[in-house]
């Protein structure tokens, strides 16, 4: 076909002996968007970079071809590769905040590549950039480029980077997880802007993401990848309505689970009253936060980054003493600050952190990690200790052969399971889960949530669950608190909180969560009264 822009055939990329990308073939027609989806290690970023004629350090392209407009781009000279990048093919990175040079104004960086390639005069490039700023819905497009990177929000920088990519009239843009690092309410703005800009300029794009719900909004076709191999390729409708492979089916049916709502609130285990806390005296991060968590229930605290939800977790753990307000736990007042708490209290409140890599000591084996709380709190030794550790491993569904492993020898999901087992070892009444699934791949995250729910049913532990993801809230919560700017803006039983009438913020939050179906974004934008152009 004449209108094929990018044609990749049997692409094979290796790191030493390990195969990262295994015989992947696809083609991209002009003016269309292909979504590459897969979990970490699927090779999607590696394929995206290969489309720029680039491979990361330590990786070699060992076979196959990639042709752009019929021209081989994998075996170009250094000079030709340089001429290709930033002109015919451009790139939008995951973290624009890290990709911009903080010492230069945005406009200079947006037009830099275009000028370097001599595609436009400076005045023309600036004019083009301003048009793109307007197209992408950036505030004050005339003067936006005069800002420095620190003067823009994450969402604005991501859009500015999209403008940078669009500036030289490229034939192909590679988007590498452009919205992954953003809050949901920002993500929807950026997604809408990217979608509109791609459509208006008629550019082709590769859109890389781990989130099928996001890809479905932007892409025309989807390529599902797993462990460097192609699983399935099809149009968005095919993938959603008639998936051929089990893995695709699993991805599509994800995030649909919902915990049945309990009618009656149980008696209170943790009660937070009028808490005010902060890191710098005089600047409270939390203001007048009052919440209740029932025995054996889950209280989900939702909010975007900076809303104070993790600070709340630190106050409950005692790592950050509150400056005013009271906490009570299990009918007794909870001492403010770690030093004043009894060992019994410490035992009863355990934590599961966001990033399991940081939560496990890399120099301790799984056995050492799980044994310590048992020995510390219950004085277990010898055979009793070993059998209890074995029970814990059974509970988190890991084989006993894991005992001698170090954290570096475990996968992300296995590490998080070990963290859960460590918390469980103390036999606590409350486990604080601080975004325990946000660093994990979607299917692995589902497994962790299922595990947490099963343990709650078996052991009766209560969870204080911090998250930014409303889909998780639906799946696990009994009570929900929505936080914004350090205050609780909405609080109640799940059914009430997630049903209209909404307050403005909760409405925005609910409307921003990508739904697992094509066309959601268009509907969500249409539903909004006026597109906000400033977040």
């Amino acid at each position: 076909m004449a209108d094929i822009l990018l044609k990749v055939t049997d692409l094979e990329i290796k790191a030493g002996d390990a195969t990262i990308v295994d015989k992947v073939s696809f083609d991209l027609q002009k003016g269309r968007v292909l979504g590459l989806i897969g979990e970490s290690g699927a090779g999607k970023s590696t394929i995206g970079l290969a489309s720029l004629g680039h491979s990361r350090d330590g990786l070699q392209i060992t076979g196959g071809q990639a042709e752009l407009n019929g021209r081989d781009i994998l075996h170009l000279s250094k000079r030709d590769t340089r001429l290709l990048r930033g002109a015919a093919v451009t790139y939008v990175a995951q973290s624009a905040a890290a990709a911009f040079n903080p010492a230069h104004r945005l406009i200079d960086q947006v037009i830099e590549a275009t000028l370097w390639h001599g595609l436009m005069s400076r005045a023309m490039a600036i004019e083009r950039a301003k048009e793109l700023f307007a197209l992408l819905g950036l505030p004050d497009p005339e003067n936006f480029g005069d800002r420095y990177p620190h003067q823009g929000s994450g969402g604005q920088l991501q859009r500015a980077m999209t403008a940078m990519a669009l500036c030289p009239h490229p034939e192909l843009i590679v988007f590498d997880e452009p919205t992954t690092a953003l809050d949901v309410t920002t993500q929807i703005e950026v997604l809408a802007a990217i979608k509109q800009a791609i459509a208006k300029t008629g550019t082709s794009a590769l859109y890389i993401s781990h989130d099928l719900a996001v890809v479905a909004q932007v892409a025309d076709d989807i390529l599902v990848l797993r462990n460097g191999r192609m699983v399935e390729r099809g149009s968005v409708d095919d993938i959603f309505n008639a998936p051929r492979e089990d893995y695709t089916r699993q991805l599509v049916s994800m995030r649909q689970s919902e915990k049945p709502a309990r009618e009656q609130a149980r008696d209170s285990l943790l009660s937070i009253k009028g808490i005010e806390a902060g890191y710098i005296p005089g600047i409270p991060v939390l203001q007048d936060v009052s919440l209740d968590l029932g025995r054996g229930e889950t209280l989900a605290v939702v909010g975007e980054s900076g809303s104070g939800k993790s600070t709340l977790a630190r106050v409950v753990t005692g790592l950050l003493p509150a400056s005013s307000g009271t906490l009570s736990f299990d009918g007794k007042e909870l001492a403010n600050g770690l030093a004043a708490r009894t060992p019994e209290t410490l035992r009863n409140i355990q934590i599961v952190n966001q990033i399991p890599d940081l939560a496990l000591n890399p120099r301790q084996t799984v056995e050492a990690i799980l044994s310590r709380p048992l020995a510390f709190y219950f004085g277990l030794k010898g055979a009793a200790l070993q059998s209890r550790v074995a029970t814990l491993l059974d509970q988190i569904e890991l084989p006993h052969s894991m005992l001698g492993r170090y954290p570096a020898e475990l996968s992300g999901g296995q590490k998080q399971r070990i963290c859960i087992a460590r918390a469980l070892a103390a036999d606590p009444k409350l486990i604080i889960c601080d975004e325990p699934t946000s660093a994990l791949d979607p299917l692995v995250a589902e497994g962790i949530l299922d595990l947490l729910m099963r343990l709650q049913a078996e052991v009766g532990t209560s969870y204080l669950f911090i998250t930014h993801d409303l889909a998780i809230v639906r799946a696990i919560a009994d009570t929900v608190a929505v936080m914004l700017g350090g205050k609780v803006v909405r609080y109640g039983r799940k059914a009430e909180v997630l049903a209209p009438p909404f307050d403005p913020y909760t409405e925005k939050l609910v409307a921003s969560v990508p739904e697992m179906r094509p066309g959601w974004l268009d509907e969500a934008i249409a539903r909004r009264p006026s597109p906000r152009r400033s977040s």
Binding site: S40, G41, S45, T46, L358, N361, F376
Partner: protein, 276 residues
């Protein structure tokens, strides 16, 4: 200390050099042809079968004195480095873990010590106190400890913020557990590199002190004293002083090569976490 980094040629040179030095120090009584202060010939004789590197300023065998000197140099440098690490690491880790005013007091006292030039501090103290090995080792250890404190506090301050240390604190673990079990094992690689560097500095520092007459006292000699004893020969075209000087330089370079090798390991450990 599993999976050592691949051995580079430079690392091999360093390891061989350091190993030779340790062998020299350990087996001095068997390797040295003559006792340390036996006069075997004339003043500054040229090398001969009896005195492999010639004789020194009063006719003693220079090779034998070099071998015995290796032992003295090694013992003093190793002891002072070990004591410096004992003091520096424990106080540095304690300051990093406790933070707050304990950290402030320890760190500011350390700054005060570091503000005084090392050599002047050592000269004044050693001039006043009795001249013996114990005092020498303690003074050197105290001065080295200030640098070790800085480094270990910085390493520990990085680790203290990590979630697994917070989890241990939430469990109610004691400070000593957190330092010994959670922090120390993860600080070993950078500390090992620092140990090598400090050892090299200790050799140089000892040589300097001995050269100035405040270090090892006659008749025994470390390598610095050998340079001092024979330096006047340079005026007459006798190069006896250069041999111990070259030995010091070679040893310090070898130690540095080994440290570089260990540091490669440290950085590769840190880079082990990859994304994508």
């Amino acid at each position: 200390m599993k999976n050592l980094p691949p051995l580079t040629p430079m690392a091999l040179i360093g390891l061989v050099g350091v190993a030779a030095f340790i062998v020299l120090a350990a087996f001095a009584p068997w390797l040295a042809p003559h006792p340390v202060s036996e006069v075997v010939g004339g003043v500054w004789d040229v090398p001969s079968a009896d005195a492999l590197l010639g004789t020194d300023n009063i006719g003693r065998d220079l090779f034998s004195r070099l071998v015995w000197g290796a032992r003295v140099t090694f013992v003093i440098a190793a002891l002072s480095t070990a004591i410096a690490f004992l003091i520096g690491v424990s106080l540095g880790f304690y300051a990093a873990v406790r933070r707050g005013w304990i950290d402030q007091i320890l760190s500011r006292l350390n700054d005060l010590m570091m503000a005084i030039p090392t050599l002047i501090f050592a000269l004044v103290v050693l001039a006043v106190l009795p001249k013996n090995m114990v005092v020498l080792v303690l003074v050197m250890a105290t001065l080295e400890a200030t640098r070790v404190f800085r480094v270990s506090r910085a390493i520990a301050a990085d680790l203290v913020g990590l979630d697994y240390v917070e989890v241990a604190r939430l469990r109610g673990e004691s400070w000593s557990w957190i330092i010994v079990r959670e922090i120390l094992p993860n600080a070993l690689s950078p500390l090992l590199a620092e140990l090598g560097l400090r050892f090299a500095f200790a050799i140089l520092f000892l040589s300097t002190l001995s050269f100035l007459g405040l270090g090892v006292q006659p008749p025994i000699a470390d390598w610095g004293s050998l340079v001092k004893e024979n330096k006047d020969g340079l005026l007459f075209g006798i190069f006896a002083a250069l041999i111990p000087g070259a030995a010091i330089a070679a040893l310090v370079i070898c130690v540095n090569l080994v440290v570089d090798w260990i540091l490669r390991k440290t950085t590769s450990l840190k880079g082990a976490r990859r994304n994508g």
